[in-house]
């Protein structure tokens, strides 16, 4: 008994000695993007007691994988509401996974929204179907925005948001901003700067800014001189009344790839 008491005291003393180390390591891990998941009561309601225990015990990725498969099944069965709930849980469990945010946003903004618009059997009213479609656009956008809150340096997510803003919301200012953000990230694609400028060119009042960006790209050389870029510059030259000697030469077709 005496030994157990001494052992317990030693364990507590060890606990006190390692406390600063643990606090330091905890801070380091959080700074490096670990331990970002909030395992709270709403999550417990979503994944059930067993799933919550598993997630708490260090098997978050495994629980997320199982729920992703369930979401995939819901997709095949066209159960969009259930799928949305499952995707939300998966992204809560694995907030650092770009793939989960990306695919969740895509499923909602493109697949679920189109299905909602086409589902005349469940909803005969065209207005209500369009409303449902809009709600799924918003939900898709929410996935991208939430993903970016956890992963602000993900160029891939900024690009997906930009495409959504451009194609579904027709919000060129938001699309230009998102493409520009994507272009500034470490995983940027070469076309994103160009796409940001294309979107700027569509915004009334920002023609000068768009022209300068497009012209700067044009001046980088033939690899940037795509037909759309040349066309947009020409339109803006006309709009802004650029002097003839400062205008670009007509681009030869096929000079860009």
């Amino acid at each position: 008994m005496k030994r157990v008491v001494i052992g317990l005291a030693a364990l507590l003393a060890f606990g006190a000695a390692r406390l600063p180390l643990e606090i330091h390591l905890d801070r380091l891990q959080r700074t490096a993007g670990f331990r970002a998941t909030s395992l709270d009561l709403p999550l417990r309601e979503q994944i059930g007691q067993m799933g919550f225990v598993a997630a708490l015990s260090g098997f978050r990725s495994l629980v997320a994988a199982v729920l992703w498969i369930e979401a995939h099944n819901a997709w095949q069965e066209l159960e969009w509401g259930r799928m949305a709930g499952l995707l939300s849980t998966v992204t809560t469990l694995q907030p650092k996974s770009i793939l989960y945010w990306d695919m969740s946003g895509w499923h909602m903004a493109y697949n679920a929204s189109q299905a909602a618009l086409d589902d005349k059997k469940r909803q005969p009213s065209a207005i209500l179907r369009q409303r449902a479609q809009q709600q799924y656009f918003d939900l898709g956008k929410k996935f991208y925005l939430d993903g970016l809150r956890t992963n602000p340096d993900s160029g891939a997510l900024w690009e997906k948001l930009a495409i959504l803003e451009r194609d579904k919301f027709q919000d060129h200012a938001a699309a230009a901003h998102a493409f520009a953000e994507a272009a500034s990230k470490p995983d940027a694609r070469p076309y994103e700067r160009r796409f940001a400028a294309y979107e700027l060119a569509q915004i009334p009042g920002r023609e000068r800014e768009a022209y300068e960006k497009l012209k700067a790209l044009y001046d980088e050389g033939p690899t940037q001189r795509y037909p759309t870029l040349v066309h947009d510059i020409k339109v803006l030259e006309e709009k802004l009344g650029i002097p003839t000697d400062q205008r670009i030469m007509d681009a030869e077709p096929g000079s860009a790839h």
Partner: protein
Amino acid sequence: MSSPRGPLFSPTRIWALSVNTLTELSRMKIFYFLLIFALVVIGNSFFMARLSFEEEFQMLKDVSLGAMSIFTALLAILATAMLLPKDLEDRTTFTILAKPVPRYEYLAGKLLGILLLLAISIAVMTGLFLLVLWLREQSVLADIRSQQLPPDDLANAIASVKAVTFNANLAPGIAIIFVKAALLASLTLMISTFASSSIFTMMIAIAVYFIGHLQATAREYWLEGLTPQWWTKPALAFIALLFPDLQAFSLTDDIVAGNPIPFALFTQTAALGLLYIGVYYLLACFFFSNREL
């Protein structure tokens, strides 16, 4: 320095004991769980073939590393919990300790044997996981190559597949799984030195496992004073000081999602793990030194 019983700490004796422990555990057909792991990984990869390759590879990594974490944790707790009671039952302990083998060497040999078992298991599971991942990658690449794509598109497609398959961060992630399992083995060994049966050891170790994953929350609440009642503060302090912070070793979930682990963070996490292992071993020696056998 030598005593009439030989050197104070003999690596040869410890090695002999650890190899013996490993052989003993192998005879208990403990490696059969690797078959279950193989079924999980291979079965999972066939099932996932209907997903996009990015999803498939992500799932494969999630499931494989998750299964690796579960199996090693279970193996560390269950195999270690059985060691001392089995030796006592077989009377092997008496034979060994009657020879000039100090108790701390006996425990070191047992712990090292378990660590060898865990290392072999993780190596086999890692090999299997990487093989399945490589095979799936080759299958996707063959599919892409069979399509008549322009050279630039083909190069981009191949680069995209390769980018989501292997990730250098998987190696430290797997190493952390080993450190966590080694910590659990050391902790279980300590419990078994004063426990009355292997069932008791297992139950306590599993309870510590679950509480250990909540220790960081208890610590945070205790230190930040987020306690509604007066008595919760000492209770939380007790949990924070007594139990290990196992969340500190649950980095694989984020690594598998693509979060890179800086080298300094990896070494400090591993160092904390080694500290736990060392202290639990010393306490095990303390409890076992005067135990009536």
